[in-house]
Symmetry: C2
Subunit: 107 residues, 2 copies
Amino acid sequence: MAEAHDMLFRTLADPTRRALFERLCREGEKTVGALTAKAGVSQPVVSKHLNLLKQAGLVRDRHEGRQTHYSAQLGALAPLIDWTSQMARFWETRFDDLENLLRRMDQ
Amino acid sequence: MAEAHDMLFRTLADPTRRALFERLCREGEKTVGALTAKAGVSQPVVSKHLNLLKQAGLVRDRHEGRQTHYSAQLGALAPLIDWTSQMARFWETRFDDLENLLRRMDQ
DNA sequence: ATAACGTATAGCTGTACGGCTATGGATTTG
DNA sequence: CAAATCCATAGCCGTACAGCTATACGTTAT
């Protein structure tokens, strides 16, 4: 049962891949060539990473002639945000429970 | 230049490891034995994962006799939250820029 | 002191994956 | 039509790592 978070975390775990996503967030739509120019890895590697980002829903691709434009899909980060705040909520709940317990013990 | 996000994302990318962290968030402090009981993997594997979580700052360990208690360190998620909101901010900035551009073009 | 218990470490194995080069398919240019 | 350009795919290699068993280390119990 590979959850949705799995792919998201795994996809963002690789530095090269995350850097690509960050550039797309910062600078907007880019072609594969433009991305490759400053990626520090070969073009096939960039294409491969972009494909994985796409499968994770983190980017969109748009074909125009012989070049492909990629852009960030920020909405895909939602599960990550949800997960994080859920962990925080669990933590706070336990903290509240502890507080309640101590309060009851005080009486 | 392995950034701080690297370890965090990589550490949370593994399902088994993330499940351990989630349990510690939900249920609070647990011993290695208690965690192993429902982890679905062997005890050495659990210990290994806990060590990695510890190196990432995601958990604390507390030794009590012959058993070790682990607990979640929620603060370690801060860089992750920062990164996410930063990406969102970049995205919104570009969106605002686009809006401004369109507004100027409208005149 | 010895045994039993809880955890950590060591060492091994298989697999997943990031990097590369080479090449193919599609499109634009000469 | 030929050549060049852009990207994707195929195939290979090396390394990282998650899982295992065996074992060592420290603590409690007998």
